[in-house]
């Protein structure tokens, strides 16, 4: 019985895309397609795609630049990159946790803003020493984010309100309210943003001097990585994680199994909000030390791209946030070197998102081809 002839062409290619390696190959494909699309666009506006991409990497500290300012080198660029990656990692974890509970937390920006704002006015403007300020900032971040997230989850559980609509509404409400307060009470006349916080409360140490270099130390970077691992453990090993996943995948079956659906939706969104709050304080009181009124951080939306690209897996988020932040961070340098507009970074992110969304289709088609070929094989074997 010669089964080999029944396999469709490129069977081994399909085996790579199907089955166990899907979690890696499909995101890689999305990235590849996006890079190709972007290179085409860059070529169309008459620039060099290769220098565009390398300057993106240089801007984020992955490759050395041609020249550096005083006391700066690739390492200092890299720590700045890590500083930018910290809030993004938290934000994408927030999205992932909500996904696991079957919810779409698109309100990360609003949760970030409220957390950052509250931490700013209560701790950032106080004269507490760092030893007290840092843990308090983190605490306020967690609590404020959890409250907004929990509220969103509550509205979903109690009133069945679509959480996407709630989150968007809350985003705008928070944005306007915070703007109001900044503009009326906390504004810095010169910068038109909120007054800078007390450096002691800032979660990033700026201008740390060593070896004749001045660089940033993002204090919470390690916390973010740790959080990713903890979330991973939560969902793969714990009982609570099992319940949240069950509710996210099939609330009716979860109820049948005796799991409390409402409680887990609430828990999922609260945890998600808490992570978003951490993103907020590491963003507004870490990477930045002031809040710009009337804007929502685009990070809140880019984190969705990060989550999807990382297959909604907490550890995958570490890699995908590295990628996306490299793009955004490097785009300032890139635009000054190559002359391509900065917005192209958000365009790349958008395209990656687009291709990631097609992932289900790729998976479907691949699974279909694989199992049809299996059926053919088993049929020939029938007596």
């Amino acid at each position: 019985m010669d089964k080999k002839n029944n396999k469709p062409k490129a069977f081994w290619l399909l085996r790579i895309f199907g089955g166990k390696w899907q979690f890696l190959t499909i995101p890689l494909l999305s990235i590849l397609f996006s890079l190709i699309a972007i290179s085409i666009i860059v070529l169309l506006i008459g620039k060099n795609p290769l220098t565009t991409l390398t300057s993106l990497l240089q801007g984020s500290g992955w490759l050395p630049k041609a020249t550096y300012a005083a006391h700066k080198n690739m390492f200092t660029d890299f720590t700045e990159f890590l500083d930018a990656m910290t809030p993004m990692l938290f934000a994408s974890l927030a999205v992932i946790v909500a996904f696991k509970a079957g919810l779409f937390n698109i309100g990360v920006s609003g949760q970030m803003l409220l957390a950052g704002f509250m931490a700013t006015i209560f701790i950032g403007y106080s004269s507490l020493p760092s030893a007290l300020a840092w843990p308090l900032v983190i605490l306020v971040g967690i609590v404020m984010g959890a409250i907004v997230g929990g509220f969103t989850g509550f509205l979903k559980y109690r009133f069945n309100i679509n959480e996407v609509v709630t989150s968007i509404m809350l985003n705008y409400i928070i944005q306007y309210v915070v703007s109001f307060f900044i503009n009326t009470r906390y504004v810095d006349a010169v910068s038109r943003q909120s007054r800078a916080i007390n450096p002691a409360a800032r979660l990033t140490i700026v201008n740390f001097e060593a070896n004749d270099l001045r660089f940033r130390i993002p204090l919470c970077f390690v916390v973010a990585i740790l959080a990713a691992f903890l979330i991973y453990l939560l969902f793969s090993k714990s009982r609570q994680g099992y319940e949240i996943k069950a509710v996210g995948l099939n609330p009716k079956a979860a109820k049948y199994a005796g799991i409390s659906v409402g409680k887990n939706i609430l828990l999922g969104m609260t945890l998600s909000g808490a992570l978003a709050g951490l993103a907020g304080v590491t963003y507004y009181l870490g990477y930045y030390n002031t809040i710009q009124p009337n804007t929502l951080a685009s990070m809140g939306f880019d984190s969705i791209a990060v989550a999807l690209l990382g297959n909604s897996h907490p550890l995958g988020a570490i890699f995908s946030s590295t990628l996306i932040v490299t793009l955004t961070k490097g785009s300032t340098y890139m635009s000054s070197i190559v002359g391509v507009r900065q917005e192209i970074a958000s365009l790349i992110t958008g395209m990656i998102l687009l291709f990631s969304a097609c992932r289900a289709y790729i998976k479907y088609k691949v699974d279909l081809k694989l199992s049809t070929s299996q059926a053919k094989g088993s049929e020939r074997g029938k007596v």
Binding site: K245, K252, Y256, A257, G258, A375
Partner: protein
């Protein structure tokens, strides 16, 4: 000599992992009632769906009226005067009867001379006429979701007749009907044949084939076993061809020996989302060693009753007591712990989490207890061990054992998994709703035997089924539910199938 109106030549159809139809060739004569016999999963519906244009054959040809045709859509099938009454009705629930029937071929009028609009009045009139001509009484302006199942089926039939179908395919039409409604339907089918239509009847019910069909094709696991002349073939022979061996329909059942009352339902009333009472003042008891079966046409409150007992639906009035403890408002988990197991009707949306592994599904009811859980940490090893035990004991087939995603398992094995899980809980009370729906004969007999085994082991079993044969063969006590009320409770040996059928239609009432 009537000519062949349909011919299948070497038709083959494959789906992922299975060959649904394997090299099938036969023909159907014009004006005959032709039956397609096979157990669940034999490939009957698939074959006819190709005739109706929902699928296309991977190999082989279909000839209609002697001409080779590529039926690539239901519209093409309709143009060939082929119509189909589906097993799961394809009706728009919030549309009227008329709107459902005319969908796709709506009559148009011009408002104000130029604005196109659907001419509902004209359609209503036509359908009124049609329903009278064929004896399929139904009000054209009724909304589908307010109609009984048998009335909805009439709408499905009218859909075909409105399109002047000449070849009518009926897919398992009697599965949802009472015995009396079945008689009525078979009469309608004979009428249609007398008016010159060709009827194809897909079924696994041998007695019905005997009553109306002239010839019959038998399918077994996708293969055509043979074409039989119904009048001269016994049901025993048909059954043997269908399954490959003799079927013993009689299930061995020891005489009933009832013990203490395990479940007591008193004056239970349940309201649905729209505040309508779907279960009205129901009272009954189930004892140790008893199989209490509730018969009824679909949609008369059975599932709501089961959900209320299990804790998935809220009881508005009345009480449910398990081994003396009042569980009327207890949380689902509390009921499970006290000794309640539930095999639900909806396998995919309630009984299983399709995107979880088989192991995760098998421990769904006890993952939170030691030894499966220590504190808040799941003990994966224990879960695997338990799952493997169940997989072996109940012969659950899954490609990767415990790691298989349940979504990729076959329907029969999914049901086995649910039953394995629920029975292994060793609860004093276990509820089965439609446990054998859509399964092949082997699985059906195995499940019925398991139910009886549990009853013999002193468990209290509640069986809710739409299959009257199943109820008659398994039950010790039979209750009939109609419109949310339990019209009659009787010992199984003291009530006839026809009587049950009459109660199912609400014709009789107790007293």
């Amino acid at each position: 000599m009537a000519k062949n109106i349909i011919e299948f030549r070497n038709v083959t159809k494959r789906f992922p992992g299975v060959v649904a139809n394997d090299n099938i060739s036969f023909s159907i004569k014009e004006g005959e009632i032709f039956a397609l016999l096979g157990e669940n999963g034999a490939g009957k519906s698939t074959l006819m769906s190709m005739l109706f244009g929902l699928y296309q054959p991977d190999e082989g040809e279909i000839y209609v009226r002697g001409k080779l045709e590529h039926i690539d859509s239901p519209a093409k099938a309709a143009s060939l005067d082929i119509g189909m009454v589906h097993q799961h009705f394809k009706l728009v629930s919030n549309y009227t009867v008329t709107e459902n029937i005319i969908l796709g071929i709506e009559p148009i009028k011009r408002n104000l001379g130029f604005l196109p609009a659907v001419d509902i009045n004209k359609a209503n009139a036509k359908i009124e006429e049609l329903s009278k001509t064929y004896g399929l009484e139904v009000k054209p302006t009724s909304v589908i979701k307010n109609l009984k199942v048998s009335e909805q089926q009439r709408v499905e039939i009218l859909k075909m007749l409105y399109r002047q179908a000449e070849i009518l395919i009926f897919d398992e039409p009697t599965a949802v009907l009472t015995p009396q409604e079945i008689d009525y339907l078979l009469e309608i089918i004979r009428n249609l044949r007398d008016k010159g239509k060709t009827i194809i009847l897909i079924t696994h019910k041998l007695e019905e084939i005997k009553r109306v069909a002239e010839r019959c094709a038998v399918l077994n696991r996708g293969r055509l076993m043979g074409i039989l002349d119904v009048a001269t073939t016994s049901t025993k022979e048909m059954a043997r061809m269908m399954v490959g061996h003799d079927i013993n329909w009689e299930i061995e059942k020891k005489p009933a020996k009832f013990g203490e009352t395990v479940l007591r339902v008193s004056n239970l009333t349940v309201e649905n989302e729209e505040k309508l009472k779907v279960v009205k003042n129901v009272s009954f008891e189930v004892h140790r060693g008893e199989i209490f079966a509730i018969a009824g046409v679909a949609g008369n409150g059975q599932v709501d009753l089961a959900d209320a007992i299990a804790g998935l639906a809220k009881a508005t009035e009345g009480t449910v007591t398990l081994l003396g403890k009042d569980i009327t408002h207890a949380h689902v988990r509390e009921r499970n712990t006290l000794g309640l197991s539930y095999v639900p009707e909806d396998r995919h949306n309630v009984g299983l989490i399709l995107d979880f592994t088989l192991t995760d599904n098998l421990v769904m009811k006890n993952y939170f207890k030691p030894p499966f859980c220590k504190g808040s940490i799941l003990q994966k090893q224990q879960c695997y061990a338990y799952a493997n035990q169940l997989i072996e004991r109940f012969d659950i087939r899954a490609a990767n054992g415990g790691d298989t995603l349940v979504r990729s398992m076959s329907g029969g094995n999914q049901q086995k998994a649910i039953i394995a899980r629920e029975i292994s809980e060793n609860s004093d009370f276990i509820m089965f709703v439609q446990p054998t729906r859509g399964l092949d004969i082997g699985a059906i007999t195995a499940i019925r035997e398991k139910m009886i085994e549990e009853r013999d082991n002193g468990k209290a079993v509640l069986l809710i089924s739409l299959d009257l044969d199943e109820i008659m063969s398994c039950a010790d006590t039979i209750g009939v539910i109609y419109n949310g009320e339990l019209l009659r409770i009787a010992e199984a040996s003291k009530i006839s199938k026809n009587e049950v059928g009459e109660y199912m239609m609400g014709v009789k009432t107790d007293g």
